[in-house]
Symmetry: D3
Subunit: 296 residues, 6 copies
C-alpha cells in the first residue's frame, strides 16, 4: 500500500514561461526513457519478483517509490513552464486571438486538450506506450536493462539542459541527473554483488556532473551515492546499496531518509480557457465548504 504527503521531492525554481522547454521536457515525463517508464518498469519488476533473494526486489521497489515522486516533479515543472505562456486578454473571445503566440515551438496538445498543463506524451506528442516497460523475468537481464534505462535518463536530460537556459527547467533536470546517477550506481552495485567489476566505465555518460552548476549542491550532499528510503516498514535494500560506489568518482553508498520536501506551487484558474470553470456552487456545496478537513 502507498501513502502520500503533499510535498514535492525538489524545489520548483521560478522563471519565465517557456513552451519549447515544456515540449522537450515531455520526453522526460512520457518518453521511451522517461519517468513514467521507470516508474512502471520497476513497479512490474518488483511485483513479479521470484525467489528468496528479496534484497534485489527491495532495491528495485525502493527506486520505484522515488520514481513516483519524479513523475510528480516533472508534471509540476512542465506546468510551471507552460503557465501564462498564452496570457489571454481581458476582452477574450470577442477580441484578437488570445493564444495566437502561445504555441510558438510548443505542443498544440498543451493548449487544446488541457489548459496549459502536462500530458502523458513524449516530446513529439506520441502517447506513452506500455510496450516500453520490460520485465524480462530474469534478474541479471532486469538489472542490466535498468542500468541502461537510468544511464539514458541522464544522457537525455543533459542534452535537454543544453536546449534552454530557463532556470525552472535546469533545476529540475539537474536534480534528476544526480538522482539518475544514484540509481545507475544502485543497479551497477547490484551487478557487482553478482561478480561484475565495472572498472572506470560507469556512470554513463562519461561526464563530470560538476560542470552543470545546478548539480553541484546536490553532489556536495553526496546525493549521487544516496538512496532515499520511502519504506515505512523494514527493507533489505542496504544489503546491496552499501559499501564502495561503482561510480567512477568514488564515494560510499548509503541509504538515507527522504529529503525535506517542497511545497507544490498553486496554479491560478484560467477562466477564458474554461479551466477549471467551476460553476457557481450550489447552496449545499457552499455549506460543505465551511467544514473542516477530516484529518487536520
Amino acid at each position: 500500500m502507498f501513502f502520500y504527503t503533499e510535498q514535492l521531492i525538489n524545489e520548483i525554481v521560478p522563471d519565465e514561461p517557456d513552451p519549447a522547454a515544456a515540449k522537450a521536457l515531455q520526453e522526460i515525463l512520457g518518453g521511451h526513457f522517461g519517468e513514467m517508464r521507470t516508474m512502471m518498469q520497476f513497479s512490474f519488476q518488483s511485483a513479479n519478483f521470484r525467489g528468496p533473494a528479496t534484497q534485489y526486489r527491495d532495491l528495485i521497489r525502493g527506486i520505484f517509490l522515488e520514481e513516483i515522486s519524479h513523475v510528480e516533479l516533472v508534471q509540476t515543472t512542465i506546468n510551471q513552464l507552460l503557465d501564462g505562456s498564452g496570457t489571454p486578454k481581458q476582452d477574450g473571445a470577442s477580441g484578437d486571438a488570445a493564444l495566437k503566440n502561445a504555441t510558438g515551438d510548443g505542443i498544440t496538445y498543451h493548449y487544446i486538450i488541457g489548459a496549459q498543463s502536462s500530458l502523458p506524451v513524449d516530446s513529439a506528442g506520441n502517447p506513452w506506450n506500455g510496450s516500453w516497460v520490460y520485465d524480462h523475468g530474469n534478474l541479471v537481464s532486469n538489472l542490466l536493462d535498468n542500468l541502461v534505462l537510468e544511464a539514458t535518463g541522464t544522457l537525455q536530460k543533459s542534452r535537454i539542459y543544453e536546449m534552454s537556459s530557463n532556470k525552472t527547467l535546469r533545476e529540475t533536470l539537474a536534480f534528476l541527473m544526480v538522482r539518475d546517477n544514484a540509481h545507475q550506481n544502485a543497479y551497477a552495485k547490484a551487478l557487482e554483488t553478482l561478480g561484475v567489476n565495472w572498472g572506470k566505465v560507469l556512470p554513463v555518460p562519461q561526464y563530470d556532473l560538476n560542470q552543470y552548476p545546478e548539480c553541484r549542491k546536490y553532489l556536495e550532499r553526496g546525493w549521487n551515492n544516496v538512496q532515499f528510503n520511502f519504506r515505512l516498514d523494514p527493507t533489505r535494500i542496504g544489503e546491496i546499496f552499501s559499501g564502495p560506489s561503482p561510480d567512477r568518482s568514488g564515494g560510499m553508498l548509503s541509504v538515507e531518509p527522504p529529503p525535506a520536501g517542497f511545497p507544490v506551487p498553486v496554479l491560478a484558474e484560467r477562466p477564458m480557457e474554461h479551466s477549471p470553470g467551476i460553476p457557481v456552487p450550489s447552496p449545499a456545496a457552499a455549506q460543505q465548504q465551511q467544514q473542516q478537513p477530516v484529518m487536520a
Copy 2:
C-alpha cells in the same frame, strides 16, 4: 512524495492456475478502462489542478493513491493465476515441450516475455496507451469523465466475473467492484456539490452487488460508501466525501483509515524458464547477504 509498506490492500485467495482468467484480468490492469488508466488519469488531474477549490483536488488525489495499490493487487492476482500454469518437467529442455499445454487460451506474452507474470497490456495483448488518460483542464468534465471511468470499471469486472469461477480471480474482482462503486459515489457526490441530483440512476450499472457472494462481506463493512485515506498530512477530502451517499442503495459517506493489509504471496523461482536465474553469488555478495536490513 510517496511512501510504502509491503502489504496488499486485499487478500489473494488461493486456487488453481487459470491462464484464461489471467488473460481476461489483463484488461483490468492494462486496458482502456483498467487500473493503470485510473492511476495515471487521477495523477495528472491532481498534479495539473487549478484554483483554490482544493477539496476537489484532494478527492481526486485521494482516489489516485488507492489506485496505485489496486495496480499492485491486480499484478499480484495475475501472477497467482499464472504461476504453475505450465509446470516444467524435471528433464526440461531435453524432454517434451514443457510449456506445451501452458498457453491454452492464455496470452503468449505471459510465457515468452516474462516467466508467467503480469504485463502492462490489455486482454488482447495491446500495450497500455497514454492517449487514454485524459485531463480536460475543466473540473466538471473531469468529474464526469472519472464517473464514467469508475462505472465502466465495475461493468467490465462484473462481466469478467462471469467468465471463470476461479476463486483467486473472483475475490479480487469482488473487492475492486465494491471499491469502484465507492469511487463512483465519490465523483457523483462531487457533482452533487455543484448542483446535480442523480435520482436513482447511480451507481452504474443497475446491479445489486449482493448478488456477487464475494462482495457481501465488503458491503457489510460499508466499503461501497467509504474512502480510505492514504494521506500522511491533512486533506480536505471530507468536505466532499461526507453526508448522504448518491448511491441508489443509500448510506452515509465516510473517510476512514486504510484497511489492515495482507502479505504479498511469495513466488518461487522457475529455473527452467531462467527466472530469475541468479548466477552463483560471488564471495563479495555472499558476505553482503549477512548484513541486516537498514530500517528493521
Copy 3:
C-alpha cells in the same frame, strides 16, 4: 449532407452463434483492408478532390456512400454471430461462470468491453488506425490504391469464407465479395478512361465467384457490374461507370438505384451483462414515452 433510412443493404441470414467467425469478421470491419478503411479513405479522397474532372470525384464519393452501409452491415453481422454465444444461466452471478465457454476462440473484448457486440478493431484485436487511410493527392495513385484496396477486400473475404460454414457469416461475405468486385471494376474502369487496358488480369483474385454458392444470386442480378446510386442530387458517376466492364467475365456497367433494404434484427437486452440495464424509468420519463414519434 447525409441522410438515412433504417434498412440494411443486405439480409442477415440466421444461424447459430459463432464467436470464432465473429473474430475473423472483425478483420473485415476494422482491419487494414476492412470496410472502415474503405469508407474513410473514399471520404477523404472525395472531400480533398482537386480540379474540374469531378466525374472521378463522384465515382469515389459514390462508393464511399455505399461503404457506410457496408460498415453497418458488418457491425450487424458480427452482432448476430456473437449474440447468445455465452448464454448466462438464470442464477447468474451466484452460480457457475456463465460466460466460461463463451470466449472459446473469440476475442475477449467482445465479452468485456461490450456485451457481445462489434468493435472498431481487427481480427487480432488491434484498433483501427488512421495511418491506413491514404489520399495521395494524385488521381492515378488514388485510383490504383483504391483498386488494390477493393481487390484485397475480396481476397480476405474469400479466405474467411473458408474458415466457417456459418450461414450468417457466409451470406454477408458473399454479398460483399460481389460488391467489392463491382467497386474493383469501377476503379479499373476509371483507369481505362485514362488509357490503361487491363487485358484479362482483373478482377483480382482470379476466382470464379460462382464457386461460392451464396454469390450466385447476386451475380444473376449482375451486381458485380452495378454501382448503386445513393445520391439525392445529380452525379457524373455514369460518365465513368458505363460501357463494357473491365471484368474478365465481361458484362456492361450500369448505375442503378439502391437495393430494397432489409430490416435490422432486434437484439434483446442482456441483464446479466448489464446491457443496456436501463434503470427503472422515472415518472417524467414514463410520461414522455407516451408521446408520438415526430416524423411518423
Copy 4:
C-alpha cells in the same frame, strides 16, 4: 442505408491560408475527442443497441448522422485553410524551394502525403485510433460518456478559437460549438428521462456562447436546442428531444429539418505538386466526358 446530397452543413467563410490553424483544427477532425470519434462512437452504439427502448437508439443515431456531415465540414475547412499556403513559383522545380515557407508552424504531412489537404490525424500528427471509440454495452454509461464527449468538443473548440482570428477557422468552430451544445443537451435530456436533474451544471463549460460573435446568429435561430433530423423514415427521437432544455440558459428542445446546405468550394489543381496530375485523357475518355450525368 445512407444517402447524400453534395451540400455542406454550414458555410465556408473565405480568409487567408493559415497552416497553423489547419494544424490545430486537425485535433477537431482526427483527435481523441474529434468529429471522427463522435461519428464512429455513435455509429457503433446505435448498431449495437439492445432492447426495446429504441427512442434512445434513435437519438444516438440521429446525432451520428449529423456527425458525418461535421466530418465533411471540418475536412473542407482544413482544405480551405491550407489551400495556397505554399504557392509554388512558375519556374517550379528548377528554381528556389517553392514550398520552403509553406510549412511554417504546420504539419509536414499536409505537404508531403497530400497536396495541401486534410488527413485522419490529430494536431500532433498522431493517426486516429479505434481504441478511442467506446460502446460500453450499457445505456447509462453510453449516455454519460457521450455527454463528456460533446462537452469536450466544445471545450477544445473554444480553446482553438483563441489560437487564431482567421475567419475561415472561427466560423466553422462557432457553428460546431453551438451544435456540440445541442448534442450535449440531447444526452443530458436523455439522462433526465432516467431521473437525473442537472441543476445549473450544464452545459460544460460554463461559458456564454454569446461572447463568441460568430455564435450569435446560430443562437438566435435557437440551434443550441435543436436537433436536425436526417432520417428519411420515422424516428422516435422526439420522445427524448422535446420539452424544457437541460441547458443552463433555458429554452425548449425541438427536432427540425436539416439546414439549407451550402456549396462545396472548388479546389484548383496543383500541378507542381502533381495533384491530381491527370494524364492527358485518352480518346476513349474524351468521348465519355461528353455523356450526361445519369441522374440529372
Copy 5:
C-alpha cells in the same frame, strides 16, 4: 551496399505444420526483442556512428549483417510451420469450411492477410514498432543496450523451445540461441575493451546450452564464440572480437567466414486461397519465360 546469395544461413528441418508454434515464433521475428529489431537497431547504430573508433562500428555492423539473414531464416521457418496447416479440400468453396481447423491456437492474420505465411508482427499480432529501435548516440549505452537485447533474444527463444517439440521450430531456435550467445559475447567483449570485467555473470541466462540437444552440434563447432564475417571489404571487427571469450564457459573468440548456406524450401501455390493465383499468362509473358537468367 548490400549483396545477396539465395541461401539460408541454417537448415529448415521438416516436421508437421504447427500454427501455435508459428504464432509463438512471430515474437522472435516481429517482437520487441525480435530479429527485425536487432537488424534495424544495429543498422541505425552503425549508420549514425561518430568518431574514429571504427572498430566498434565494424563490430555492430558485422552483427547487423548477420541479422538480415536471421530475419530471412525466421520468415522461412514460420512459413514452414504454417504451410499446409489448413489443407483445403478439393471441392473448395462449395463444400465445408476448408480452413475451419486451420487457425486452432494460431494467429488469424496468417490465414486472412496472407496465405499461411509470415508477417511483421509479434506473437500477439501487434505490429513491429520503430520506437523499439534505439540508438542512444553514446557508445557505452549502445553496447549495454545491445547486450540486453541479445541476452533477451536467448531468454525468449529458450522459453519458446519449451512450448512445442516441433523439430522445425526447435532447430531454428537452437541455431539462433547459439548465435545470440555469440553476439552477446561480442558486446560483452567490446565492453571489456573499455574496462569491464564480467566475472562469471555472462552469458545471460545462466543456462547450459548443451541441455538443448539441437544446440550441441553448433557448440561443437564453437559457434558461440565465432563471428561470421559478411563483409566483402576489410573490417576492424577482429580488433574487438578476438582473445579470451567473456563467456562463462570460456573459449577463444574468432572471426570466420560465413557458413555454407542451405537451400530455401519451395512453397507450393495455394489456389483456393488465391495464392499467388497467377492469371493465365499472356502470349508475351509466355515468350519471355523462355529467356535465360541474365547472370547464370
Copy 6:
C-alpha cells in the same frame, strides 16, 4: 545470406545543416511510404513467395536488395543535414543553452534521443509501423500494391524537393526519384507480362524528371530503365526486366551491375552531447587497438 561493402549507393553532396529538411526527409526513411517500408515489404513478399514462377520472386527480391542501400543512403543524408545544426559553445554546460537554436523547425528527437542523427520515425515523429508492410499472398495484388508504393515514393520526394533548396537534400532526392521510377517500371513491366497495357499512364506522377536539374545526369545514364543487380548468384530477374519500358518516355529495360559506390562521410564525435563519449580506454583495450584488421 547478405553481404556488404562499406560504400554508399550514391554521393552525399555537402551543404549547410538544415534541421527542417532533415525532419521532412524522415518521411522518406520511416514514413508509411518510405524506404524502410519498401525494404521490409519486398523482404516479406520474396520470402513468402509461392509457386514456380520465380522470375517474379527474383524481381521483388532484386528491388529489396537495392532498398537496403536506400535506407543506408537516407540515414546518412539525414545525418549530414543534422550534423552541426546545434553547434555547442566551448564553455558548454556552464554557459548559455548550446542547443537553443538547434531545434528550429526540426524534430526534438534528433537532439534528445540521439546526438543529431537519424531515427526510424516519419516526419511527424511517428514510429515506423509494421502494419504498413503488406504481403497479400497473391501475385497480382502484390505487384499492384508495389506499383502504388513506388509511385508514391516519387510523389512524396518531388514534394519534399520543393521544401528546401539544400543541395545535400536535393541530390539524394533526385537519385531516389529516378530509382523509384525504375522500380515503378519494374512492377509495371511485371504486370505487362500478365497482360496489362499501361498506355501512357505511367510513370505516376505525370512529371518530366528532367525538370529537376539533379535528375538529369541519372537520366542520361538511363537509370530510370535500369535495375541494378546485387545478386552474387544467378537470377531470373531479366526474364521480366527486359524489352521495351512501360515508361511514358520510352526506352529499353536492362539489368546492370551496381554503381561504383561512394565513401561514407565521417561524423565527428560530439563530446558535449556525450556522443559517443568513449571512456578512456583500459590498458587491455589499448593493446588490442594495435592489432591488425583480420580481413585487410
